[in-house]
């Protein structure tokens, strides 16, 4: 005989000491994954990566003479540099992955991470519990960074591994420093971008406005950058453009910065990006601290 | 002025396929009338129809003998309305907001200011006149809503949950204001969820349920109409088992519940007779307290609208 009424019960099970941002991170990842477009973007990136793996295998193993072929084509075309699967190609690949992912992921996923909590007042539910504004922010930001990296760093590393596994030993020297470079570059960009989007959303308190402002900053920034560059002839003006900065950061860290003139000085670019990150972080902490005061 | 303050005839309103209010016939002369009902029972719909914010799907409303329809500005002059929704003039100071409304009402300069000062004084907000609405607590905003409703001292005042969110001093002040207001032959329709406060201020009620009129009139009359329900007396005291045995043997009761040793609930169809009998027992000093709860508004409300799930 058993009887169980819908009555309040005390909890006697275990309580773990894991940090409070961990469940927040997993819940945020789930939330992202439940969005159809976020899923599509991630899958498309990964599938592209897989496609390139196959390509690397084909080039390295099936037609290993392709280097001579390309050299010959290069000579015929009058190109000075020989085309090979080195750091520069990886830089090019990196940009191929980063640009289609950054903006959509920010617009589809990052934009309402915090502003939705502000709208439904979830922050009040969170901060009355054992979680501090800093660990709240950590959980949310890590989730966003995680998606960005999964859709960019993931396929890149796949390609690199495929390339490394299928090519001859001496090729490894050319691509040895690539993984560290792309990891550093992408992590830096992802963190800055995550903080930036969330800071905008804390300021506007609305997902829609965040998206609008974010698009405007992205596009308008790029347009303004080239206009100002043309007007003042000061190449550092280009650092207003986030897209430009993303490229310079990647190129600089991978040590493949083209020696053309129309790129801002990496020092300036890093200062601007770090500045954006730090200011965003301060805005976020200030907003969240205020929210943690409840009521 | 013999025309009733409010008269509705077959008043109905649908929102698409959602029924807001159906076939309401009530007439209200003057005094305070409590408007009661669960959420979604049609109170707000009625308020909107009375203030000419929406058209009736069927039937009509007369305010002091004049048909009330949206855009019928003449009738707008005779009523003040404090809606249940929040106000949204966030950046205005309280006094500026009221002044704007006074001017919209046709007053100018000094006389408008005069009205605003008077209204603020009556709700006890004079010290807060310069506070911006967005900086105000919920209770303060509620009071500003009441202030704008009484700005022109209209003969008919419609208040939708005015006490919601107010702290106890403001509650009492607002209820005093309503009581005082209705003493001067004016009409106040007060919608509220807090029954004991309605109970304290008026006996005249309109109860809505599922968009229909459930009951209208004096509380005691409404109670007397509910015949099926036995009435209940609760006594506390000593030696209650004997009392219970005695009453049972005389076949006066339709029900009896013992709660512990010292509390007895007695259900009966003829309350007066039971009370007389209890009086006799009480004279011997056995009864400490006696209560008949069904004269109370919450008991009647419970009977009509349905048990409060405990």
């Amino acid at each position: 005989m058993a009887f169980r009424a819908a009555e309040y019960e005390r909890y006697t099970g275990p309580r773990s000491k894991r940090p409070a941002w961990w469940p927040l991170l997993t819940a945020t990842l789930q939330r992202g994954w439940s969005s159809r477009w976020v899923r599509r973007i991630t899958w498309i990136s990964l599938i592209q990566g897989f496609g390139l793996c196959v390509l690397a295998y084909v080039l390295n193993d099936v037609v290993p003479t392709w280097r001579e072929l390309t050299e010959r084509v290069g000579e015929m075309a009058g190109a000075e540099d020989e085309i090979k699967l080195d750091g520069r190609v990886y830089l090019w690949l990196l940009n191929m992955f980063v640009y289609p992912v950054l903006l959509p992921l920010a617009l589809l996923f990052g934009y309402d991470l915090i502003s939705k909590d502000l709208e439904t007042n979830a922050t009040e539910a969170y901060f009355a519990r054992p979680i501090t504004p800093a660990s709240y922010l950590l959980g949310r930001t890590l989730a966003f960074v995680g998606f960005l990296l999964a859709a960019t760093l993931g396929p890149m590393l796949m390609v690199w591994l495929a390339d490394y596994a299928t090519s001859e030993a001496e090729h490894f020297q050319e691509i040895a420093k690539v993984p560290l470079g792309i990891t550093l570059a992408l992590s830096f960009i992802a963190v800055v971008l995550a903080l930036f989007v969330q800071a905008v959303s804390v300021l506007t308190k609305s997902g829609t406005w965040t998206n609008l402002i974010f698009v405007v900053i992205f596009l308008f920034g790029s347009a303004m950058a080239s206009i100002l560059y043309n007007m003042t002839d000061n190449v550092d003006m280009l650092s207003i453009s986030l897209l430009h900065n993303v490229f310079v950061v990647c190129a600089y860290i991978m040590d493949e910065l083209p020696k053309r003139q129309d790129y801002a000085d990496p020092g300036v670019v890093f200062t601007v990006m770090s500045g954006i990150g730090i200011v965003s972080f301060m805005i976020l902490m200030r907003g969240l601290r205020r929210r943690s005061m409840l009521g | 002025m013999s025309a009733p303050a409010i008269k509705t005839v077959g008043l109905s309103r649908w929102y698409g396929e959602v029924q807001g209010l159906a076939g309401l016939d009530v007439t209200i002369q003057h005094g305070v009338v409590g408007l009661l009902g669960p959420n979604g029972s049609g109170k707000s719909t009625l308020m909107r129809l009375l203030t000419g914010q929406i058209h009736a799907s069927r039937g009509y409303v007369e305010i002091f003998g004049e048909r009330m329809t949206p855009g019928h500005f003449k009738s707008f002059r005779v009523l003040g309305h404090a809606p249940g929704e929040d106000i949204h003039f966030e950046n205005e100071r309280a006094c500026d907001f009221l002044l704007l409304l006074a001017k919209l009402g046709g007053e100018s300069g000094a006389s408008a200011r005069d009205r605003v000062d008077k209204a603020l004084d009556r709700i006890g907000m004079t010290p807060k006149a310069n506070v911006r609405l967005r900086e105000m607590s919920k209770g303060m905003r509620q009071r500003i809503k009441v202030a704008q409703a009484i700005l022109f001292e209209p003969p008919l005042l419609l208040l939708d949950e005015p006490l919601n969110g107010m702290d106890p001093p403001s509650r009492r002040q607002t209820l005093d204001l309503v009581r005082e207001y209705s003493n001067t032959e004016r009409t106040v329709l007060l919608a509220s969820h807090v029954l004991h406060e309605v109970d304290a201020i008026t006996d005249h009620l309109i109860m809505l349920h599922h968009g229909r009129l459930l009951a209208e009139g004096q509380l005691s009359d409404i109670r007397n109409l509910i015949e099926q329900k036995p009435r209940r007396a609760t006594i506390r005291g000593k030696g209650l088992t004997q009392i219970a045995a005695k009453l049972l043997s005389e076949d006066r009761l339709s029900g009896l519940t013992m709660e512990g040793d010292d509390c007895l609930h007695l259900d009966t169809r003829d309350l007066t007779k039971l009370l007389l009998e209890l009086q006799q027992v009480g004279a011997d000093g056995q009864i400490e307290t006696l209560e008949t709860d069904d004269q109370k508004l919450d008991a009647v409300y419970d009977m009509l609208v349905g048990g409060s799930a405990r």
Binding site: A6, Y8, E9, R10, Y11, P14, R15, S16, R18, A20, L24, A27, R31, K116, D117, T120, N121, A122, T123, A125, Y126, F127, R129, P130, T132, S292, L294, G295 | G37, P38, N39, S137, K138, G139, N164, G165, P168, P169, R171, R172, H193, V194, H196, A200, D203, L275, Q279, Q280, G282, D284, G285, I287, T289, L290, T292, Q295, D302, V305, S308, A309
Partner: protein, 309 residues
């Protein structure tokens, strides 16, 4: 159970130049406490100090024997807070949101989900578990917030205006739930409410605050017992005036209340016994519909405290 549930010692909180709490001393040793005060009395600041969210300028707030500021995070595992405004996790179903909040409090994933289901059943939202909270009605939202405050099985429960905006049925239901949790399961309750009837029903103690100061702390029965010895009597319909006259003639002081049918009867030198009143009514062929000790209502007591500047 030696340490008091809440002990405030000279708690002083300043925000810039504004002083929200002027050195409050108070002790709540357990049971149910009503936190009363007009808007802006410092109730929210006190709540923040107790949850360890604000650093006191001076003094300490100890909760469950622990300093709230030093170990606020640990303390918030043991406290359930129900905010006044709606608060829920958007985009999650009701049960998923609650489980998530329990996980934040350190529940393992599976236990959190089980617990979320149980608590929702308890507050009567079992049928609506898988719906999103944004589709809930006012009454359901209030119960959901209560469930959220309970989901991590706290030892102390802070409820801020839990019956605000509820219709009479939902209000009775909410009060019933709170009563069950505190009476049957021994959770300590701190209830901030403007509806003094609710406080009277649920709490044994009150703290009355005004202007950042503790105006009064004590048990409700002491507060409302000022008129001990007097009785409140209600008479059947139109016999009020006659009763008044008869009582005065019999040597009682009799004051009439609001509706003309109820009276407070007292005697200058002694306690008024119910049998005297019953006999009085019998002799004058009147029907008494109620008789009970004339306690002051909490509302009267509260307003008196505020006015007694």
């Amino acid at each position: 159970m030696s340490a008091p549930i809440i002990a405030l010692d000279g708690l002083l909180v300043r925000y810039g130049k504004f002083t929200a709490l002027h050195g409050v001393d108070a002790i709540f040793s357990g049971g149910s406490l009503g936190l009363l005060g007009p808007n802006g009395a410092g109730k929210s600041t006190m709540l923040r100090s107790i949850l360890g969210l604000v650093r006191p300028t001076a003094g300490t707030a100890q909760v469950l024997g622990v300093d709230a500021r030093k170990s606020g995070t640990e303390l918030r595992r043991r406290i359930g807070y129900m905010p006044e405004r709606d608060a829920y996790i958007g985009g999650f179903s009701a049960v998923r949101g609650l489980a998530h909040l329990a996980e934040i409090c350190g529940f393992p994933k599976d236990d959190a989900m089980l617990r979320a289901h149980d608590v929702l059943h308890f507050v009567g939202l079992g049928e609506e578990r898988y719906r999103e909270v944004s589709t809930f009605s006012t009454g359901m939202r209030q119960r959901y917030k209560l469930a959220a405050a309970l989901v991590h099985d706290p030892e102390v429960l802070f409820l801020d205006e839990p019956t605000n905006g509820l219709d009479p049925q939902s209000r009775a239901r909410m009060l019933g739930l709170i009563e069950r949790i505190t009476k049957d399961h021994g959770l300590h309750l701190v209830l901030a409410s403007h509806l003094l009837h609710d406080v009277e029903r649920l709490c044994q103690e009150v703290w009355v605050m005004e202007g950042g100061k503790m105006r009064l702390s004590g048990s409700i029965s002491d507060l409302t017992a000022a008129a001990r010895g007097a009785r409140r009597v209600t008479i059947a319909n139109d016999q009020g005036a006659a009763f008044h006259a008869a009582a005065e003639a019999a040597g009682f002081a009799c004051s009439r209340e609001g509706d003309g049918r109820s009276f407070v009867v007292h005697h200058e030198d002694r306690v008024v016994e119910p049998d005297e009143i019953f006999r009085l009514a019998q002799n004058n062929q009147m029907v008494i519909t109620s008789i009970r000790p004339a306690a002051r209502s909490l509302e009267d007591a509260f307003l008196e405290v505020l006015e007694g500047e």
